[in-house]
């Protein structure tokens, strides 16, 4: 293989073939993909099905705890899993920038392959485009996932009920702060790593253990605060969080304190919010803690009747609104 990607690799000719067989096939290997037909033939799915799509652009491509490749699998797998579904198949579309180092591409593809194997999903169809230098930033990836819903009824942001317990599967803000830190070269953020992880096995265990799960959401962009506001709005309930109970790693807390950012608004890529009837709270927490990705699971609040908003019971016993942000958080002047 040449050292860097040429426009030819997206031409559909032999150069494209070589890229597919020497890179994608090698890391994604599965019988459905290897048939190389125009579409993948899926014969073992019966409804109801959950389907989700997401596009991934991240700078830098590699960061502590993951890469755009692992993220592109985990993000979509988790979105499908949040519907109480067992993710089975992924599609992936690459938009690659001419001149990209093939070694970089291969590392990303290898990360995707490894992430898919861990999650137990197959990447069964794909597409590659190569665009002229400057038309995209190195690698953009889109993945679409499909999975079979086994929860009945499927969890939804509309199902939070007054009296429910609000749980999270671990510490908040790791991914957002890590990516920001490595993008901006913030050398003092050394002890943080992305939490990017597949949650589908943990979700399956939670649902099998407690049965009745009202809401499952992964607090990605906008973080815990934004996702809880969306849930409060969808379900027309009030959510009260207990600040002390929300797990945040010390390195993240310190980094945020320095930058004037709030970990509750930072993205997570390997955590879920789980809202269950009070009676199931302990069992759901125990199920989370059985997973390697849920060791720090905690109960962080409750659902109450009232205005569709999120209130925070603060560390010192005060109370305030935990609202939605207008846009991205920006580091402050002093």
């Amino acid at each position: 293989m040449d050292d860097c990607l040429l426009l030819d690799a997206g031409s559909g000719g032999r150069a494209s073939q070589r890229l597919i067989t020497q890179c994608f096939m090698r890391h994604f290997a599965n019988p459905l993909l290897e048939r190389m037909d125009d579409a993948a033939l899926l014969t073992d799915l019966t409804g109801p099905l959950a389907m989700s799509t997401d596009s991934y652009t991240v700078t830098p491509l590699f960061f502590a705890g993951g890469s755009i490749g692992s993220l592109a699998v985990h993000g979509t797998v988790n979105d499908v899993a949040m519907l109480g579904a067992r993710p089975r198949y992924l599609s992936c579309g690459f938009i690659l920038e001419e001149g990209l180092s093939l070694e970089t591409l291969e590392r990303v593809v290898a990360d995707m392959g490894a992430a898919a194997r861990e999650a137990g999903v197959s990447i069964v169809t794909g597409d590659t485009k190569v665009v002229p230098r400057g038309a995209c930033d190195k690698i953009f990836i889109n993945t679409t996932g499909i999975g079979q819903v086994f929860a009945s009824p499927a969890p939804s942001g509309h199902n939070a009920r007054p009296g429910d317990a609000v749980l999270v599967s671990g510490a908040m803000g790791d991914h957002g702060l890590t990516v920001m830190g490595s993008r901006e070269g913030l050398s003092f953020l050394t002890d943080v790593a992305s939490d990017s992880a597949p949650l589908n096995h943990m979700i399956e265990d939670i649902i099998n253990t407690v049965g009745e799960v009202h809401v499952l959401r992964d607090p990605t962009r906008g973080g815990l605060a934004t996702t809880l506001n969306e849930i409060a709005e969808q379900s027309q309930v009030s959510i009260v969080l207990d600040e002390v109970s929300v797990p945040v790693h010390e390195a993240v807390r310190n980094g945020c304190s320095f930058l004037g950012m709030d970990p509750l608004y930072l993205a997570n890529e390997g955590k879920c919010i789980c809202i269950v009837p009070e009676a199931h709270a302990e069992a759901a927490l125990a199920a989370m803690r059985r997973s390697p990705y849920g060791k720090e699971a905690a109960r962080i609040g409750s659902v109450a009747e009232g205005k569709a908003q999120v209130a925070l019971q603060t560390r010192i016993g005060g109370r305030r609104l935990l609202g939605m942000l207008e846009g991205a958080q920006l580091p402050r002047i002093c």
Binding site: T314, R315, R320, R332
Partner: protein, 363 residues
């Protein structure tokens, strides 16, 4: 950061609240903080919901973004549109609207080269990497930030970087406090003085508060217990009719401040009249580059002027900054003026008082 948690201890906070209540003894107290970090800390910690009803919290002109005047924003937007100019700025200036609602974000979308930096020194790296362009650092902030800009100018000089300059729109805290107190309608009875700014200034520049105006001034830290302690000291001074300027944040602030930082500041800058949003021109309340550093002064080097801009109609940010009203008393608050569509400066920055009320108050 165990220390931080210790100053958030609920029992400690409650005993300080008891002490505050005892000191108040049925009297009321209107205090003003003049630091965006205090504004946010008071809301974010939930402290505001715990304050005695007799205590009124006012947020003064303490957010550097909020007090940046429209005319100043117009000047840096003008810069951002120019060829071969890279604007280096702290992130929170990106959304500040100038006349006509335009921001650096809009300029960026139209192709202007605007780079967010975390330290003014990062702007030097930009200058070194782009020798064919002029890198302008937007010098916005109070006495805390300005010495780091002076240090950057010194480094630029030492490295002989010719393509770096600073648009100095820095502001000074003490002259603003004096203007507030000279206003006969000012309702401020005590000042919570800014912890960060005071690490540089020390106590002396605030001495006039107690001496000339009989108003207590307490330098406070940013954790709930720090702020409560400062409030206790204010209330006790008022009870004893013994106003003084004192330091309740000795773990960070030396009473004499940081003379080395001040010397560096004086080497490069001199006081100058400055425009404050919502207040207007305050004499000798800004910092301009000294004439001998003209080549690093963006104002002169790039021939910038501050245009005349009409005041915002209906906006009462000026009254908010002066402590005459609280944000919800402004007719535009939460209606025409929201963080998505800020009319006035106090809604723009996350550290502005209107933005804090909007973000943290339950509706």
């Amino acid at each position: 950061m165990q220390l931080e948690t210790a100053f958030q201890n609920p029992q400690l906070c409650h005993s300080l609240l008891d002490r505050l209540n005892r000191a108040l003894d049925d009297r009321s107290m209107r205090f003003m903080e003049v630091c965006g970090t205090h504004t946010v800390a008071i809301f974010q910690s939930g402290l505001r919901s715990l304050l005695p009803a007799a205590v009124t919290h006012l947020s003064g002109p303490g957010c550097p973004v909020c007090v940046t005047h429209d005319a100043e924003v117009a000047a840096f937007l003008d810069l951002a549109g120019r060829d071969r100019v890279i604007v280096a700025t702290f992130g929170d200036l990106l959304r500040v609207p100038g006349p006509g609602g335009l921001t650096l974000k809009h300029a960026q979308a139209q192709g202007a080269r605007v780079e967010i930096v975390y330290s003014p020194l990062d702007a030097l790296a930009l200058a070194a990497a782009n020798p064919g362009d002029t890198v302008v650092f937007l010098g916005i902030g109070f006495e805390t930030t300005a010495p780091t800009v002076a240090a950057t100018l010194l480094t630029a000089q030492q490295r002989k970087l010719k393509n770096f300059c600073v648009l100095s729109l820095h502001k000074l805290v003490p002259p603003a406090l004096r203007i507030l107190l000279e206003d006969s309608q000012c309702g401020v009875e005590a000042f919570l003085l800014p912890g960060h700014v005071s690490t540089i200034l020390g106590l002396e520049p605030y001495a006039f508060l107690a001496r000339d105006f009989h108003v207590p001034g307490v330098v406070g830290g940013f954790q709930p217990a720090d702020i409560l302690l400062a409030l206790c000291l204010m209330a006790e001074q008022m009870r004893d009719k013994a106003p003084a300027v004192v330091n309740a944040y000795p773990r960070a602030v030396d009473d004499t401040g940081n003379p080395r930082a001040r010397a560096l500041l004086e080497q490069f800058f001199q006081p100058a009249d400055a425009l404050w949003r919502g207040i207007g021109c305050i004499p000798q309340s800004g910092l301009a580059l000294r004439p001998e550093y003209e080549s690093m002064d963006a104002m002169k080097r790039l021939d910038l002027t501050l245009p005349d801009v009409p005041p915002l109609r209906g906006c009462r940010c000026g009254d908010v900054l002066k402590g005459r009203i609280t944000p919800p008393q402004c007719p535009l608050f939460g209606k025409k003026c929201t963080p998505a569509n800020p009319v006035g400066p106090c809604m723009v920055s996350t550290e502005g008082s209107c933005a804090a009320y909007f973000k943290y108050s339950e509706r």
